[in-house]
Symmetry: C2
Subunit: 239 residues, 2 copies
């Protein structure tokens, strides 16, 4: 019966741990999930396989995969093979400058597409797994950007001017990776299906920024990452 | 010599009269033009042919055509064949409600892609032919939206946080169609190459909202539209 239908939320689902956890948060908050994966010319399609598996496992009502060819514009290590993906950096230094893996205006484009989907389907919210703690180097993961974008949507969409603005929810915004790992476990996120590695191998590389951060999160949360890694960074052991 | 290069501006170029005039304004303002046409699943490709011809005629430094499949989300007469394009309405009543030709979050998506292009290429401004007078029914053509989006970009892009925010310029925002026609003529816009009709025939239909508005503009400006129409609306003649 339509009147008993749950409210809808569009969830930006990359296939990584964070966006999968954001999707689980949308479900926890009482929404039916419209999953949206944006293929933006990232170097590998491995994430897409994960996004599909995660959407299925979480019972998304729909999963749309759309293309937005940001690689046509260039300017990032994630879309331009001529720019090297940084590897083996110290995770504590990651936030000091905007990294080479920053994709110009990526979250702006993702949120714009999510807004188009949300408005066309009458969804009330957009969930995004943006995180301002571990990746404060990305300007489009900061709360001030997300708030400003939400205000733009309130002014530039039909639902906004009619008084039903689309809300942007970033439930992981102020969580460190260990808290995200714990939340994912509590909300029964299919962690083994997620993919965080910036490279697209058969197994995760274990040495790019994203792998390092993820492994650190699991370590600090006292949990084991079910994903298989080609290499795990050395760490001090008690003897 | 690179140091004598002009500053760059991304211009959203649909192929219509307004965006062609916006491109001519960017040139007048001293910018080199990076033209961007977004193919978003509109019903016809006729606009694309016009966009290519206009970019060439105006001497754009580059012209990128990218896809953003807004038709996958639905909700507009311009992308969904099941929704009828309104025809033969009274142009003075157009602004009273949001028309069926509104595409959810279209300008949000366009500006987001323009921002990605601008940031990747170091462009300082985005020009958009948005107009708040004749189409005040479109929420994403209003000045309050464009200002809010500009603020979001200042907070969510690398150039923004580094103190060189991308500016959004909408030189036609408060002009009526007759003033746009006069400006286009003055700036030597290749008017005969532009395409405004919502339908994709060999010649413009002359009866959709967009054709009616364009023809009214030429009439009020005292100029003849060089574009060929299948039909022109009846008007009172002096005998």
């Amino acid at each position: 019966m339509p009147s008993h239908r749950k409210a809808l939320a569009v969830v930006l689902l990359s296939g990584g741990l964070d966006s999968a956890t954001a999707a689980a948060c949308a479900k926890r908050d009482g929404f039916d999930v419209l999953a949206l994966t944006v293929v933006y010319g990232q170097r590998h399609a491995r994430e897409l396989t994960s996004a599909r598996a995660v959407a299925r496992a979480l019972g998304a009502r729909e999963h749309k995969v759309v293309e937005a060819p940001l690689d046509r514009f260039g300017g990032s290590a994630l879309t331009d093979p001529r720019i090297k993906v940084p590897r083996g950096r110290n995770t504590s230094s990651m936030s000091r400058s905007i990294p080479a893996t920053y994709v110009p205006a990526r979250n702006t484009v993702f949120l714009a597409l999510a807004a188009a989907y949300a408005e066309a389907r009458g969804a009330r919210a957009i969930y995004i797994g943006a995180n301002a703690i571990d990746y404060s180097g990305y300007p489009d993961c900061r709360p001030e950007f997300l708030r400003a974008f939400e205000r733009a949507l309130a002014r530039g969409t039909k639902t906004g001017v009619e008084g039903r603005p689309i809300r942007i929810k970033a439930p992981l915004l102020r969580k460190d990776k260990a808290s995200i790992v714990r939340l994912a476990a509590r909300l029964k996120v299919p962690i083994q299906r997620t993919w965080s590695c910036y490279l697209g191998g058969r197994v995760a590389c274990g040495t790019c920024d994203s792998c390092l951060l993820r492994l650190k999160g699991f370590r600090e949360a006292g949990k084991t990452d079910p994903v298989v890694y080609a290499a795990r960074p050395l760490r001090r052991r008690k003897r």
